[in-house]
Symmetry: C2
Subunit: 341 residues, 2 copies
DNA sequence: AACGCGGCTGTGAACGCTAACAATCGTTCT
DNA sequence: AGAACGATTGTTAGCGTTCACAGCCGCGTT
């Protein structure tokens, strides 16, 4: 006689027996196969509920082709953008009935990405989302013949890979034009790390926007996304009377910059205007509240997943440029103002 | 005749054939079984390399008992602590040869946790780490007879569940005592959301530390971890001459508070000292740099994983309180100073 | 000289599910 | 009326591993 709550969780055959059908019929019901008499379907569903049956995803993946798990390759640092994107992807995946397995990389190099992908392939993920917007990611991926459908996030115009990204060029242009419109003769730039695609895109858009406006292009200051690097940049910029407007490649750097300016008695926005990038939740509460470029990471995650799902059943790679960039937006706050007269 | 790069990835039997052994011997080599002649082992490993064989985790999980995947239940907001902990767990898991599947919850309630756990159970994870330090998480978990080994992060002294946490009480005490030592008559508190275990722990430690010191205990101000809530608290506190020291339940709230004080002309630390909690990377670059309590989330993640792995082969729950709390540390910066004389 | 034992390897059967095909039945078409 | 058809269900065979149980070998024992 069976115990009411057996140690072993119910499997499909248990459900089948209880419902008086074959295990295949149970499978059909579970997978929404059309040709099952509705009375039978009900009987099966009742049995499922009664036994608290949950299909085993491992067996499912092994038997059929597709697993209902997606892989996400992210990396090892807590940066707002990637973290927010990951969340967006996960949420969208869950909504679509997929699980999410993550791998973070410490190495940004070829092997790192390769290993991550292998680890995911081992788990038979149906597809992967790669949130690793380094300039060399695309190259690394191209040389990996894993055959898993993949979507790259934020990789910009890298080429042959399906990618979703925020329009970095438009964002940087928004920032620079905002400052120029306020009457600043030129705009300085604290850029992000050079191995990041986005950093390069922002920098080059900054440069070309200035050039188009006929403004002189000051040298870019190096940064690495961290507040500390922004702080150091701020210390260098603080003494220079030519500096009236600074565009930071992200909000953390802007925070550090603000700190340095504050220390050195540079008033923002009276002496210098500052614009950031990302619109992290804290931006509104910096001193002063930071004007910045908002990126909708949630939307990125969502589109990214949509694209991956399309990729899963649409075999060809004809999807090329069908997916438009996500548009960034300027959020004007108190850190920017008219140029000193 | 086989193509050199077949569309179908190699499976164990392919390796076996190439090495001239049985599939079982291949399995033995892969799992480090002792009784394989070293010459045979070499032969198999060579074949593995040659075919670029990777064992199928799905089949492995199905056939054997254990899958090499752990689940992490997190939730839907980008908060520094949980994000950092997740990263720590993932890193530790990867080091131990485990994959990580994540599920985020939007609902904090019983069903939310239950669904998350079911989703993970479906994937046959070997164990789960739950990063959801709500006060009701413990209750929700106890009522779930899923039978999966689980470790809860940051759940404090909740009781019957294996848990790893930073010593919130010690942390809050550190903060309050730091301020009292500086000569402040009492310390105000902007607390976190009441459904968070940690928020309650910090609040009650704040209260008891004040009481022990014979200081009056002002009413706690509500917050929800966000900078905005800190800002609002700051606006309320700014007018009050009795307020000379504020302990914020996290750094974001402290940021908002600083912003509000700045707006209202309250000088920090001259008029009011402020202490935060977490030591987010930005804390050092706030205006002024924030004195705060550092939590080592990476260590939390690591211990958490260690505990889970112990739990996996050590069946009994005799591990109870064997795992000590992670000690927090005071990081003194410029936002605190002596009381006004 | 036969026995037994330990190191090494192979065989068959799960694991829980889906895919492909076969079987059954009541209809509908010619 | 006989056959073919569509809807519904069952049967059999894997998916790629590990597990349990044999085999085989050569050596030291009795």
């Amino acid at each position: 006689m069976d115990q009411p709550s057996p140690p072993r969780p119910a499997v499909m055959i248990d459900v089948a027996r209880l419902a008086g059908v074959s295990h295949q019929t149970v499978s059909r019901v579970l997978n929404g196969h059309p040709s099952v008499r509705s009375e039978t379907r009900e009987r099966v569903l009742t049995a499922v509920r009664q036994l608290n049956y949950r299909p085993n995803a491992l067996a499912r993946g092994l038997a059929g082709r597709r697993s209902r798990v997606l892989g996400v390759v992210s990396f090892d640092t807590i940066l707002y953008g990637p973290a927010a994107t990951l969340l967006g992807v996960e949420r969208a995946a869950r909504a679509a009935g997929y699980g999410v397995s993550i791998v973070t990389l410490e190495q940004l190099d070829h092997d790192g990405v390769g290993d991550a992908l292998s680890a995911l392939a081992e788990q038979s993920v149906a597809g992967v989302v790669i949130i690793a917007p380094f300039t060399n990611t695309a190259a690394a991926l191209r040389s990996l013949p894993t055959g898993i459908p993949a979507v790259v996030v934020e990789a910009g115009t890298s080429g042959a890979l399906p990618a979703i990204s925020v329009d970095q060029v438009a964002g940087a242009r928004l920032a620079v034009q905002h400052l120029l419109t306020l009457g600043h003769a030129t705009v300085w730039h604290v850029r992000g790390p050079q191995n990041w695609r986005e950093a390069r895109d922002r920098e080059s858009a900054w440069r070309s926007t200035l050039e188009e406006a006929g403004a002189t292009v000051p040298p870019a200051i190096d940064g690495d996304w961290s507040a500390r690097s922004g702080y150091e940049a701020g210390l260098r910029l603080a003494g220079d009377p030519r500096v009236t407007a600074v565009f930071c490649a992200n909000d953390q750097q802007a925070l550090g910059l603000l700190r340095a300016f504050h220390e050195r008695g540079v008033r923002v926005p009276d002496d210098v205007s500052v614009v950031g990038f990302d619109d992290i939740p804290e931006a509104e509460f910096m001193s002063p509240p930071l004007t910045t470029i908002r990126q909708d990471f949630d939307e990125v995650g969502r589109r990214c997943l949509g694209m991956l799902l399309d990729l899963l059943d649409a075999p060809p790679d004809l999807l090329g440029e069908a997916y438009p960039r996500v548009a960034p937006a300027l959020v004007a706050r108190a850190s920017t103002g008219p140029a000193r007269s």
